[in-house]
Subunit: 450 residues, 2 copies
C-alpha cells in the first residue's frame, strides 16, 4: 500500500517519519493516541483521488487530518491506515469580493483566510478559538463565539467539492446564496467528520467587516443570573457579535494564566459590531438591560487594545486550564435550549463539586452552548474516571433536556456512546447513509458510530 502511494503520489508526499507518526496520532483531546501506518500530504484534488483509490483497492482506512485542533478525537486514526493531511492544500481557488464568496482548499486555516481577505473589507466570521483549518471546521460543523450572530459552519457553506469513497467527485451546491434545487448534500457532508467523503474545496459566504466594534463585560452574583440576563439580549433581537458566559473559576484561571485583572466573578462578555452609531446604541441598550437585570458592574473596553485583550483572554481559557502543571483537562460541549442553560450550568458545577474536582464552565450563552472543563491528575486513574463520569452525566442531562451532546466539537470518539440516546431511530438512517456513501467502511472508521 505504502509502495503504491509513493509510486503514484511521489515519495515527497508520503511520510512514515517517527515524529510525523506521533504528531498524527492525536488531536488536542485526551483520547488515547493511535499511530497511522502512513501519512499522505496531497497537494491537489487528484492526489486525494489517488489516495482514495489505493485505499479502496487495498481496504485501508483513510482519516482526514487538518490542523489537529479537534477536541473529540475525530482525526485520530483509531484503525491505523492512512492519514490524509491537507496542510499542503492552502490555495485560495477563487475570491469574489463582489459576491462575498471565497473558494478555498481544505488546508487553509481560518486565520490565513482572514489575512488574505480582510484587506478587501471582508471577513470569514466563524471563530472556534483555535486556528483550525477550514476543512476541519466543515467536518465538525464548528462554530464558536460568533455563531450567535452568523450561525455555525454549515450556514456559511455554499458549495463543497467532495471526493467520494468510490472515486466520484461531486459538488454539493453552487455560488448562489440560497437554493431549493435537489437534496441538501452540503449540510449532510458538513458535520460528517470525514466519514462520507473527503472535502477537496469549500465555497464560503463572507461578510463585510463591521466599521466599528465595542467590547463590554459585566458580572452577576450567580452563573444562573448571567444566563438569564443573556436571554434578555436575545429577546430584544439585538444582533450581538459575541455573547459569552465565563464563570468565576474560569475568570480566575485566565487571570493567572495571562496576567489579566478581570473581576473573578461570574461574567458576561459582549461584543457589538456594525456602524458606529448602531453599535453605540446597541451597547447602550444592552447596558440598560443588564442594569435592569441587576448586574454588579458594567465596563466597556476603552480602546481596541483593551478589546483585543478581552477576546484574547477568552480564547486562552481552555489553554489556561490545560496549563496547570502536571494536570490534564477533560472537556464537555453540550448545547441545550437557552431556558435550560442556567439549570445545566448549575448541574455541571454541582457534579464537579460533589466529586471534589476542579472545574470551570464557560461558553456561547446566546446559543445555549457551554463547555465544562474538568482538571484531573493523569497519574490518578480514578480522577480521570470521575471526570469522565461527570461529563457523561452532563451529556445525558443535556440530551434529556431537549439538547445535544455536542454543540460544536463533533462526535469523534468521545460522543459515540450518546448517539443512540440522542438520535434514536434516526441513528439507523444515519448508518444506512454511511453504508451508501462508504460501503467498505474505509472513511474514518470508528467515528460517530459504535
Amino acid at each position: 500500500m505504502i509502495e503504491e502511494l509513493m509510486k503514484q503520489l511521489g515519495s515527497e508526499k508520503v511520510s512514515m517519519n517517527e515524529t510525523e507518526l506521533t504528531r498524527h496520532s492525536q488531536d488536542e483531546s485526551c483520547h488515547p493516541g493511535v499511530e497511522p501506518a502512513v501519512i499522505c500530504f496531497p497537494e491537489s484534488r487528484s492526489d486525494i483521488e489517488i489516495i482514495l483509490q489505493i485505499a479502496q483497492e487495498q481496504h485501508v482506512p483513510v482519516t482526514a487530518y487538518g490542523a489537529g485542533t479537534g477536541l473529540e478525537g475525530g482525526s485520530i486514526p483509531v484503525h491505523g491506515g492512512i492519514i490524509l493531511n491537507t496542510e499542503r492544500m492552502k490555495r485560495i481557488i477563487d475570491f469574489s469580493p463582489e459576491d462575498f464568496t471565497v473558494t478555498v482548499e481544505p488546508g487553509v486555516t481560518r486565520k490565513e483566510l482572514n489575512e488574505s481577505i480582510n484587506k478587501h473589507g471582508l471577513m470569514f466570521p466563524n471563530d472556534p478559538g483555535a486556528d483550525a483549518s477550514i476543512g476541519g471546521m466543515v467536518s465538525t460543523n464548528a462554530s464558536g463565539t460568533t455563531a450567535v450572530r452568523y450561525g455555525s459552519m454549515r450556514e456559511q457553506i455554499l458549495d463543497l467539492e467532495v471526493v467520494l469513497a468510490d472515486g466520484r467527485v461531486i459538488h454539493t451546491g453552487s455560488r448562489a446564496k440560497k437554493s431549493s434545487s435537489g437534496y441538501n448534500l452540503s449540510g449532510l457532508i458538513a458535520g460528517s467528520e470525514g466519514t462520507l467523503g473527503i472535502v477537496s474545496s469549500i465555497t464560503l459566504k463572507l461578510h463585510g467587516i463591521p466599521e466599528h466594534t465595542i467590547a463590554a463585560r459585566c458580572t452577576f452574583p450567580t452563573a444562573k443570573a448571567c444566563a438569564e440576563a443573556a436571554r434578555l439580549v436575545l429577546l430584544h433581537d439585538i444582533p450581538v457579535m459575541r455573547l459569552e458566559l465565563v464563570d468565576a473559576v474560569s475568570v480566575g484561571e485566565v487571570n493567572r494564566f495571562g496576567g489579566y485583572q478581570f473581576p473573578e466573578k461570574h461574567s458576561l462578555f459582549f461584543e457589538f459590531a456594525g456602524s458606529k452609531k448602531t453599535v453605540e446604541d446597541e451597547a447602550g441598550l444592552v447596558e440598560e438591560l443588564m442594569r435592569d437585570a441587576q448586574c454588579e458592574d458594567w465596563e466597556v473596553a476603552a480602546d481596541s487594545l483593551e478589546r483585543a485583550r478581552i477576546w484574547k483572554a477568552r480564547h486562552e481559557l481552555s489553554y489556561a486550564y490545560r496549563h496547570t502543571s502536571g494536570k490534564e483537562v477533560l472537556g464537555g460541549d453540550v448545547c441545550v435550549p437557552v431556558s435550560r442553560l442556567p439549570e445545566l450550568v448549575d448541574y455541571s458545577r454541582e457534579l464537579a463539586e460533589d466529586a471534589h474536582m476542579k472545574a470551570g464552565v464557560f461558553g456561547h450563552v446566546g446559543d445555549g452552548n457551554f463547555h465544562t472543563l474538568i482538571v484531573y491528575d493523569p497519574k490518578k486513574p480514578e480522577e480521570q474516571k470521575k471526570a469522565e463520569q461527570i461529563l457523561e452525566r452532563l451529556a445525558i442531562k443535556a440530551i434529556d433536556s431537549g439538547g445535544t451532546c455536542t454543540g460544536e466539537h463533533g462526535v469523534g470518539i468521545g460522543k459515540k456512546k450518546f448517539q443512540k440516546r440522542e438520535h434514536g431511530e434516526a441513528l439507523e438512517i444515519m448508518k444506512e447513509i454511511k453504508q451508501l456513501f462508504d460501503p467498505d467502511g474505509i472513511l474514518n472508521p470508528g467515528k460517530i458510530f459504535e
Copy 2:
C-alpha cells in the same frame, strides 16, 4: 385501497368528492392538473402512519399537500394515488417563548403561527408572500422577503418529526440552537418535497418582534443600477429586514391592480427593523449610500399604514400579473451570485423583449434571487411555448453563472429538466438517497428526478 383507508382512518378523513379531487389536482403553478384517486385528511401522526402503511402495502403513490400555494407543481399527484392533505393538522404542540422555539403540526400556516405567537413578542419571520403551510415551506425550503436577514426555511428548523416510507418515525434534531452530533437529517429532509418522508411536526426557531420598523423606497434609471446599489447595502453588513428589487413594468402592474401610485420606475424597497435608534441610523446610512449611488428619489413611509401598504403591494405583485383578464402567467425563480444579478436581470428582460412578450422582473435582490413573470395567452400554444423557452434559457444561464435554477420555489415538475445540468454527478447520489429512503418509490413520485 380506498376501502382500507376508510376502514382504518374513518370515512370522515377520506374524500373522493369531485370538488376535492379538482382542488387537489393543482397548485398555483401552470403545470397541468392531475387528479388523485383519493384525498386523506390525517389528524395526527398515527393517521399519517396508517396512510403510509396502506400505500406501501398496495404500492400506491402518496403526495403531501399543504396550502396548495406551490409554484412548481410539487404537490400535483402526477401518478394519481393518495393526496395526504395536512390541513387538519393545525395544533401548536409546544410553544416555548423562553427558548424562542415552537413545535407545530405541518398544516399550520405561517400567518396562523404568527397570530398565535405575536402576542408573546415573538415572530416566525419567513415570508414567501402566500400564506403557505409550515409543512409546505419545509418541503420546498421556502424563503421570501426576509431571507436576506434570517435565511431560508432550512435555517429556521431545529427538529423535524418524519414518518418514513417504511413506517419508521424519526426525529432529525433537538431543541438546541446548534449541534455537531450525527448527520444533518433536518437539512436533508427540508427541501426534499415530500420525496423522502412525510413531516409530521416541525420545531422552529423564533425571533423577537423588532421594536421599530421603517420602510423606504427609491428608484434608479435601470434595474442594473438597482442591483448594484443593493450590493452596497450588503457590503456594509447592514442587517436589513427586507431588500427587494421591483422593475418598472412590475411597479406599473401592481399600481393598476391595487390602486397604488408608486413611481413606475425600477425600484428598491427596503425595510429596517430593530430598536428605534438603530433602525433610524440604518435607514439614514442606507439613504446616504443610495444617494451616493445616484438614486432618483428616496422616500420613507410616513407611518405604519403606509409601510403596510408598501409590503401589501409587494406581495400582490404576482397576483397582479395573474389578474390580467384572459391571460396566464409563467414564472421563473433563479438565484445567482449577487454580482451576476444585474446581468441576469438584463438578460431576462432582453429575452422577453426579443420574443415580444410582456414580462416583469422582481425579487430578493439581497440574496441574488429573482422572479421573472411572463404573461401569455393560454389560447395561443405558441405563446406558452415561447414563455417556456425564455424561462428555460434563463434557468440555464443562471446555472452556468454559478447559480441555481430555483432559489425558493423548489424543483417540483418544472425544474426537473435542469437537475442534471445543475448537480452533475451529485444528482446520482441524490437518487441513491431517494432509493434508500423510499425503495418502492411511493413518496411523491415524478418530482425532482426525471
